[in-house]
Symmetry: none
Subunit: 203 residues, 4 copies
Amino acid sequence: MSVKTASHGRIDKRQAILAAAFTVFARQGYSQACVQEIAQEAGVAKPTVYNHLNDKENLFREAMTEASAELTGALLAAVEPLRDPGDDLRAALVAVGDRLLELYCEERSWALRRLLYAEVARFPELGCGVDKLTEALADRFARFSLQGKLDVQEPEVAAEQFLALLTGPMDNRTAFGTRPAPAAELHSVAESAVRTFLSAFAS
Amino acid sequence: MSVKTASHGRIDKRQAILAAAFTVFARQGYSQACVQEIAQEAGVAKPTVYNHLNDKENLFREAMTEASAELTGALLAAVEPLRDPGDDLRAALVAVGDRLLELYCEERSWALRRLLYAEVARFPELGCGVDKLTEALADRFARFSLQGKLDVQEPEVAAEQFLALLTGPMDNRTAFGTRPAPAAELHSVAESAVRTFLSAFAS
Amino acid sequence: MSVKTASHGRIDKRQAILAAAFTVFARQGYSQACVQEIAQEAGVAKPTVYNHLNDKENLFREAMTEASAELTGALLAAVEPLRDPGDDLRAALVAVGDRLLELYCEERSWALRRLLYAEVARFPELGCGVDKLTEALADRFARFSLQGKLDVQEPEVAAEQFLALLTGPMDNRTAFGTRPAPAAELHSVAESAVRTFLSAFAS
Amino acid sequence: MSVKTASHGRIDKRQAILAAAFTVFARQGYSQACVQEIAQEAGVAKPTVYNHLNDKENLFREAMTEASAELTGALLAAVEPLRDPGDDLRAALVAVGDRLLELYCEERSWALRRLLYAEVARFPELGCGVDKLTEALADRFARFSLQGKLDVQEPEVAAEQFLALLTGPMDNRTAFGTRPAPAAELHSVAESAVRTFLSAFAS
DNA sequence: CATGAATGAGATTTCATTCAT
DNA sequence: GATGAATGAAATCTCATTCAT
């Protein structure tokens, strides 16, 4: 009724289309996905998709950007607790590791990474985002080092390695996200990662 | 002319088609690649492709299997030197790390992984191969542990982590294989990986 | 604001739409032209076009009628001087011929004829207008005949032939209005036409 | 069966497609015509059309070129008799005029000209063909002038004018090919044209 | 009356796949 | 066994037209 409502309606529809698009792209891959199916999933007619997003490529870009931002937000939130890790640094790192792995192994995360890998050659801008997660983690590690809680010379490298230890094993363990990993296994991976990390960087 | 030659000719043609297929799939992705282009790249007519490999899906499977086996072979060969590491374990590990990273960052390797990631949802059998590289490395680490050169409780986990430390950083550093990484950077990553690994697992 | 102004505004808007429509139809042809573009050119929204003119076909009809009337008016005005040709009939005919050819070769004239030719099959009413120009010219020639200035038995035929001699050569000379014709060439054609015409019909 | 037959089959199919294309384009215009309908008219599947002619634009170009060449051939043949006009030049000219007008007023001729006019803006190469008919006629008139049968200073201009006198009146008389013209009317136009032409150029 | 948004229908084009030779 | 030709099916995108405001 009000302008605001109308505006929201428009924005909502755009968001609905983007969400539907990501769902379908995740299921079928970029090329196999057809705009028709995305429109159906969003509950609109095909031309409406073209009215809001210009063409399939742009639709993909926007849907990926959206999904990517969402995941990045959650990941950054997951490392926030390290601002106040309490007495037990190991426990704090394991908790963060658990949470990161949980996010990393969500179905949508795998789908996002699969699409990213698959299409980065044709959509190079998708791979260009700076890795905010590594940076945020490097910030924490630098602080810990200053506080004498860790002995880290190159915080960026340490952050990279922390994340690599966490997520690296999951490709093979879940057959690239095809098989689900039990929570216990995730926790075990997180603990191993933290153990190795602390063995290397404990002060 | 002879049966043997004819047979070889047949096999050669099949191999040529598979090689061409991988090249084209790597360039375009599974869906974007069209059989016509593969046939052209292989220098044969389209129906010949269908005579040798039944349909596009099978063509993809076989081409991926072929390329995958090739890469796996090279990776396994790269860890062979660890059977006789000499006195300086660190140097041996760095050398192996260098070689593994080099292989990992070849254009064809990225392409293979991109295709794997992209299509594992529709071709689940592609992701099912046991990870021979991790196993081979775990074998070496187990030996080192027995020989007192390392202190490794779970060789599989240690191998996973060694590989994660090596390759994990490369996704972001090369924008998923889109940007080339200078050899010096590769070496630096290998050294960091080995340093962290040995800090954690030195006996 | 006032009724009169509003009414004028309405008429003006209709005229603006028709003018824009002709411009776009001339540029793109009937089918290629899209209502969206016409609306843009007219500076109104698409439904406004539908409010004023019912559908695309009617829009075309009206735009063509408008443009056609405009051109016809100019052509009729161009032969008016023959009501008072002065002493030198040849000079008067050449002057009229020059002006007619000039109008005939305007960009908009070519566009109009192109659209007429192109769409007369689907809009037969467009081709049904009596040829007022031929009639007007026939009237003049009949007068000249009565006055002993010409020897014309069938004024309609003479008028047809005068116009044919003028405009017939232009299709090929301008590649159907695609290439511009220099003014000198136009004048030369007009002179040749008048020469032949007078050779045949001089009293 | 034989290679030759196979080859003919291919050529025949291409010709069939081009003929069907011209028929449909003539009926519907370039944009309204759809490839689907052309394929149906030709009795082949839609992709076959795309196999032989690359896209709709090229299909149009080739179909127009073909039809144009056909008509041009007939027109040139129609003026051949003027190589040996016999004693009665007037009669010969009228005969040729009759035949030219007959060809000019065939349904396919009107269709060709309509398409040419309609699309010359988007397919400029279609309008670029030299006018062989005018040239051939100019050649005949030049001969007649040398032989003292005519008094023609500029044969090209005379030829242009002869054709203009013939065909110029037909646009209006047939409502641009929409109405059929009775043979008697055609003959009358031809006679008037020849009368005027000879009045002007008789030696 | 003017308009932003939505849509049903349909156009061009591509591609995996199969015959017939 | 290899190939030129043909095709059924489907995908992207456009456009005339209509609601609801």
